[in-house]
Symmetry: C3
């Protein structure tokens, strides 16, 4: 499949070019996401002061906005960095963590969607459903139920918001409004470690830093991270502490042969072949 | 013993109900405490913005207030969340980290004790002694000495402040002013990893989310975590890095049979049987 | 060599006296640096509120200022804590993370150098070159190139700023303007884990808390940490997750015999031995 070949090349490009991935993210996962970026082969930078985010993002290959432990000042910084990234053509990945759980989270997510051109929205079903105006149930930041976040709904969301959307769950769904991918990679142990959703954002961002098509970047990121999860689970079944450690080993060890061998993606194209 | 049987049932309830544990905590242990909650079987949420804490805590089964890297704004948020939890009957666990080390920490702890009905205070001997007005010596956040924090002092503290107090150390002491438990579980390696005190808070909070009696919740949490520490130390004696990883594995693996077999608790009741 | 013998004694002193190391540091490495301090044998404290830093630092044996995720309020707190440390004769270690990458970072580093008497500056070549007014290239916080940060430049920097400078890289360089050490300890895997630079700061600070000569403290810290890196790499070659865990095990296990056996330091003295 051409898609997998492109993803393989993107992985090689990340390691060759070492793009800087700038994250304005939550306090819970800073170290973990930075290490994931480094293990994959890109370079992490965390910077959130309004006084410097515009200057810092200008050096980056991609920008990640994650509202997991948001404060108003941080959202302001995200907006500043996002607008500057837009000016420079740098892709912006948004994780609307906990949208639907509190008004602040829902409003902040919508504000960022309105004021910044988001390249890729990555969330769980409840968070994306909230942004789509559908009903959902969320416990803290955990999706409990979200009615109707099917592939069709993802495609409609992407078309309406003119972005790529990546909804992670047992099967991940990525859509850019025209193409829709269903990714079966990943492992249940990934739900036993805090911040694997946040790590998926930065892996996607690392791909987006070298891959101009956001649909391919999001699909590539989720395939790569899903396979890393499978590799880690082989080393540490039912041991979340050890699994967490093995996840970094796997991101570092992941090579393009393994990626091609283990990738499980189905793509459908609207109106297409 | 009936107490152990209740603790076993509470552990099962945590895993069945998956209560949300809301923490407003320090920047050093956010990831670690969130992972501990998840490994035990509950769901973590970290949220500290004044704009959302009242809404977030309303979904939670317990609230943890931890002043380890306090700022005035965060204490305000703790008070807001704590008052709302009180209105809704949600138990509040306070860790007065470093009370006695600086005026800000002592004052903030006292302010939270006064303005929020605290269900369980969890601290080391020096921190609790400070709140009790006794002399103590603390190096940063490490208790060096605390005169008189015996079981009797714990019982008097609990009676005076109308709360349950849990003082962790070589032997942990829990008292609600009437019942006093001495828990001998735990392992010296727990002192070689940063944040094990903070993890004990969230394990206690997970129990408090399903157990209405704070004395049982605090005792259950410390027994469960102490046993997890013993299990981890078996896998990684004298290796703090590996021990840290094994602690999460142990919290995840801990079952009610092991809990009953390894629990070491003595309870005395004032005026009682 | 007398230097190695002194470093050995300093390591023993850290474990005997357990000095408090106060860090005002970035949000990415708080847990990791605190655990490194604890594993080495000292006691960590993180406190950044302007209301308490002066009181907290008064208890400490050393103060670490690290601008990795700086905000203006944090820089103010760093300056307050630094000035108080100066009054009390407590050594201050500065890591100008990302100086050269943004104006905020360059200006904040220079401001701290001007307003606080810094005992030891620890950075990568690009960061130190920026402070020295030399040209450099930095990607986020990663040194890409820095012209002329040779041993001679380090010596001149130290002489000009009246401090000790420690420049970490493949070979670490430490100079106090008179003596210059080249340290060949360390391992390439240390570059595969986020925050090893930050950990080197706190190991140096732990030595500075017991060793009055900053040149010896900086050299000792880098030798000790470099050897720990070598020990960890033996356990986990090419596995950054496991290597990270083993780094803490190694800091804990490091003994003075191993230190003396593996230390690789060359010292040259201006005007000669």
């Amino acid at each position: 499949m051409q898609l997998i070949e492109t993803i393989r090349q993107d992985l090689a490009k990340i390691r060759e070019k070492r793009p800087l991935v700038h994250s304005i993210t939550n306090l819970v996962v800073m170290n973990e996401t930075a290490n994931a970026i480094l293990c994959l082969g890109a370079l992490p930078i965390m910077a959130h002061a309004k006084e410097e985010v515009e200057e810092m993002v200008a050096m980056a290959g991609a920008l990640v906005l994650n509202i997991g432990t948001l404060e108003p000042d941080w959202i302001d910084a995200m907006e500043l960095a996002g607008r500057r990234a837009n000016e420079l053509g740098i892709p912006v990945i948004l994780d609307p963590v906990g949208a639907g759980a509190t008004k602040l989270r829902t409003d902040s997510s919508k504000r960022l969607m309105e004021n910044v051109k988001i390249s890729i929205v990555r969330g769980n079903a409840a968070e994306v459903a909230t942004l789509a105006g559908l009903s959902s149930e969320i416990r803290g930041v955990e999706s409990i139920s979200a009615s109707g976040m099917t592939g069709t709904a993802a495609r409609e969301f992407a078309a309406a918001f003119k972005c790529t959307v990546a909804i992670t769950g047992v099967t991940d769904i990525v859509s850019d409004g025209k193409n829709t991918a269903r990714i079966s990679n990943g492992h249940a142990m990934m739900g036993k470690v805090v911040g694997t959703g946040c790590i998926s954002n930065v892996i996607i961002a690392s791909f987006a830093a070298v891959e101009p098509d956001p649909f391919i970047a999001a699909t590539g990121g989720l395939v790569a991270f899903g396979i890393a999860g499978e590799m880690a689970a082989k080393e540490a079944p039912e041991k979340p502490g050890t699994f967490h450690t093995e996840l970094y080993n796997a991101l570092y060890a992941l090579d393009s042969t393994t990626l091609a061998r283990l990738a499980r993606v189905d793509v459908s194209t609207e109106g297409g072949s």
